[in-house]
């Protein structure tokens, strides 16, 4: 539904980080999404390339981390895991809880490419994490 506007906002946020850090491009973007944020990860994944086209995020990999839902009970103080449509305290069953995690939409980390000019080696062949 509105995932394209979220993707556009994401690209804007990363572009300003690129600017602030004097970097050339973003290589990897990690976003933390709670199930209660109202954003569907699969739709965001497909909207991202559209929003990033022509920007310095174009080649970035998008990692979406799904946050667990946790609530804190205002009655007994316990903190517990909860389901998206049952935000009840697991300890005492009360509904007077506060969501402490699970509704976030956070740009957690961005890996930036600080190189001034692109090297001969094309970026597509890069393989992070495993030695060549």
């Amino acid at each position: 539904m509105h995932e394209l506007s979220v993707a556009q906002a994401l690209v804007d946020a990363v572009e300003s980080l690129i600017e602030q850090n004097g970097a050339r491009a973003a290589r990897r973007i990690r976003l933390r999404i709670g199930p209660l944020a109202g954003v569907v990860p699969a739709l965001l994944t497909s909207a991202f390339p559209l929003a990033a086209a022509g920007s310095r995020c174009e080649r970035a990999e998008l990692d979406l981390i799904e946050a667990p839902i946790r609530v804190r009970c205002q009655t007994c103080g316990a903190e517990s895991e909860a389901a998206i449509n049952r935000l009840l305290c697991a300890a005492c069953g009360d509904w007077h809880t506060q969501v402490v995690s699970g509704d976030e939409l956070l740009l957690e980390r961005v890996e930036l490419d600080l190189q001034e000019e692109p090297q001969e080696e094309p970026m597509e062949t890069l393989n992070y994490g495993s030695p060549p």
Partner: protein, 266 residues
């Protein structure tokens, strides 16, 4: 392996040395809502409302749950008591705004075309077509949709979510993001309960509580004028509260702001 410290740099990718944003820097500079632009505009809209002592309400529901009918009944009851104005969000037509104008109440229509929700910029554009001075209550009828409208702050103070009895009493469990955002839930078209015995208002309310939402629940029929008194009393109460806030230079955010994010930034 560890992708926070740069230890996975290899001879093959060293020339692309990347700079991870420090976790501490993340919380300061990066940890902000991705919808920041919308939120900034929403805050600006709210400042327009607060400067004039206006209480702004955002009405959300599925298509056809009775938002416009509720507005017609509400305005008929309140228009002599308060100065009211309405912003209508619709995919295509001017019909809803015309229904409101027929009551002699100022209405501006936002025709969204294909957009499935209003955002703060659309509302700001609408404000420039309206006479806001002297307005007490501003109603914003959002596009009929139980999904995205809940994610966009428009600058309103309160969210009102309608659930008509023809939709099923389990809607809060199916659309938790929307119903979590409600500052009040209206069970609408209650005149139809007589013929729809499978809708249980108590169950609808229980599903709302399971979302940890303490919002008041009003049962009403705009068509038959039933149950309107409690809703109208709540509106009067909320306007009084808004005036008290304005007098103290404070404002009120609708339920949209996720608790979690606030806790993370604290």
């Amino acid at each position: 392996m560890c992708d926070t410290c740069g230890c996975n740099l290899t001879p093959g990718n060293r020339q692309f040395a990347y700079k991870p944003v420090e976790p501490s820097a993340t919380t300061v500079s990066v940890l902000k809502g991705l919808l920041q632009k919308n939120d900034d505009q929403a805050a600006h809209n709210r400042a327009h409302f607060d400067a004039r002592g206006i209480l702004a309400l955002n009405l959300m529901s599925s298509p056809g749950s009775g938002k416009t009918a509720l507005l017609e009944a509400t305005l008929a009851a309140l228009k002599d008591e308060f100065n009211c104005a309405v912003i209508e969000g619709d995919l295509e037509t001017e019909n809803d705004a015309e229904r409101i104008r027929a009551q002699g109440v100022q209405a501006h229509q936002i025709v969204t075309g294909t957009a499935c929700h209003l955002d703060a910029h659309l509302v700001h554009d609408a404000l420039h077509h309206m006479q806001l001075d002297g307005v007490d209550l501003l109603f914003i009828e959002n596009v009929g949709n139980l999904v995205c409208p809940a994610s966009f702050d428009l600058g309103q103070h309160l969210n009102v979510t309608l659930l008509s009895v023809t939709e099923g009493d389990d809607k809060p469990a199916k659309y938790p993001v929307m119903f979590r955002a409600a500052d009040a839930m209206l069970i609408s078209k209650t005149d139809l309960l007589a013929v729809l015995d499978d809708f249980d208002p108590a169950k609808a309310e229980a599903h709302l509580r399971e979302l940890a939402n303490p919002a008041p629940v009003f049962r009403l029929s705009a068509k038959k004028g039933e149950g309107l008194a409690a809703w109208l009393a709540w509106l009067r109460e909320q306007l009084t509260a808004q005036r008290a806030r304005v007098a103290q230079g404070r404002t009120r955010l609708p339920k949209i702001q996720p608790d979690g994010v606030r806790l993370h930034t604290a």
